[in-house]
Symmetry: C2
Subunit: 298 residues, 2 copies
């Protein structure tokens, strides 16, 4: 799988995800709470590469899980990712006015609606996961819900965001930053890969391999993000540039320098591919994705 | 069951709930995200009458569901109620500095930690519900999760809060206010009662009776809240008084006047008791509770 066909595959999945989100989220219907529905839709449909859905759908593929089945889980995970961005952008958090090149949710709808839109997206994601269209086996759905709640909860994503806020203007050591990143973005990344194994009732060993793949990819992804933050322009990344550096945030890149960081990310991506050795050619998109993560320009 | 023994029962359940929350929520453990755990614990353990757990445990009782089984579900619902209070109190929402006579979460820990604490409590509630200690049958847990997500999501509690914010300084008609209340507080109230029926695998007819009971109780509860807001003092209610009136909010009481409102609440409570006709003496606490809801002074 070359770079171009991987990008085509990512776009194909993103389009499916966009259509589905458009379909499942409540539309304005002339009621007083319409602003909430609009804010939820605005955030969930404002682009985004849909990399987590890509991971869930591709890992599901490894176990012969159909797209119909994996898509709904992928959707739920993407809604949780979206909620986290909406809340992270709030003035009392990272105070970001732009997201994916557009005004962030609170800039469009105000803080209150943005907080509620995040709450609504998070809650709605669990509705989706619990629905029997996600998987016919209630036990599988329960396992998904446990994994999603754990990855996005106080010991995962939400805890990571707390650490991030507590660490502004602080010089963190490399292992500390890795821990922060593992919780803040890595946990949901790993979950996106594990979800395929859960849906496919895969043996524990293969599930662990996918988790290891995802953990490496997650750190590599974050390093590339940091590199783009240092080197990119707003046009390319769609968000304010050098925000982290300006906020005095320690990043993996500020810790070890640009060159070493780039090297480290490349190494992580190579190791990630090794974790896929037990899989056949159906894992080729995932293999290519490891390279994509460190080569992407936005 | 007289008023005193009902109050004793409510206190007994509240103490159990407090002990369990203390037990299940993560404690500060010398990590950077400790502030998040502290904010979650502060909000979840700052008193409160634990009326929703009371309803879940008492309705579970009707179907012979053990306390061990119903307690965890009751806990999850109370954590969702807590998260909604934490977010509602935020400056961009209702801007409340006090909650249950103490500084609200964002006054203690700052806005960012309060937003994250709410997110963490909501997510953790779904973790609890998905856990097999909630019920041995995964299908029952899925049904609970669906009901909880639906009651607290965009078409329930979160939607109700959006309507509430959109309706400030607006003269709403009585049916509109009832709809607002049904979504904002009624849905979780009704869910607290339905949860007992779900745990007890009760027939649909009995589940509907409990839902009807809860809907009446919910509106009666809200009217009493409004009456206390007009007439109470901060010492009694533990929160700022006449806030709603000062904010120019239309309430059920401002709509129909104090006397009619009191009468209406009494009628709703009587009707609520009628819905329990199909149940034996195990429903006596719930019958007494209907009266309590309109007679309480805080």
């Amino acid at each position: 799988v070359n770079f171009l066909s991987l990008e085509a595959r990512i776009r194909e999945i993103a389009e499916k995800v966009n259509r589905e989100i458009d379909d499942v989220l409540p539309s304005p219907e002339g009621v007083k709470e319409d602003k909430l529905f609009e804010a939820m839709r605005y955030s969930a449909l404002s682009g985004g590469k849909r990399l987590r859905p890509f991971l869930t759908i591709e890992t599901s593929n490894l176990f012969g899980v159909s797209l119909e089945c994996s898509l709904q889980t992928a959707l739920a995970i993407e809604l949780i990712h979206t909620y986290s961005l909406v809340h992270d952008d709030l003035p009392s958090m990272d105070n970001d006015d732009y997201r994916r090149g557009k005004p962030s949710c609170h800039k469009m709808y105000g803080e209150a609606a943005a907080i509620l839109a995040g709450d609504g997206l998070l809650t709605y994601a669990f509705s989706l996961l619990a629905n029997n269209t996600t998987h016919s086996d209630a036990g599988v759905r329960i396992e998904l819900i446990q994994a999603v709640a754990s990855a996005s909860g106080p010991r995962g994503m939400v805890g990571g965001q707390m650490i991030d806020l507590e660490s502004q203007h602080e010089c963190m050591a490399f292992p500390e930053i890795v821990r922060l990143q593992r919780m803040k973005t890595g946990a949901l990344f790993a979950l996106s890969c594990e979800a395929g194994a859960i849906l496919g009732k895969a043996p524990k060993t293969l599930r662990n391999m996918l988790r290891a793949y995802a953990n490496n990819i997650g750190v590599a992804f974050q390093i590339t993000d940091d590199l783009l933050d240092v080197e990119g322009t707003r046009e390319e990344t769609g968000k304010s540039v050098s925000k982290d550096a300006n906020a005095g945030k320690a990043t993996l890149v500020s810790c070890i320098g640009v060159d070493k960081a780039r090297e480290h990310a490349k190494l992580l991506a190579e190791q990630a591919v090794d974790y896929l050795n037990g899989f056949d050619e159906r894992a080729d998109h995932l293999r290519a994705f490891a390279e994509y993560v460190v080569r992407r320009s936005k």
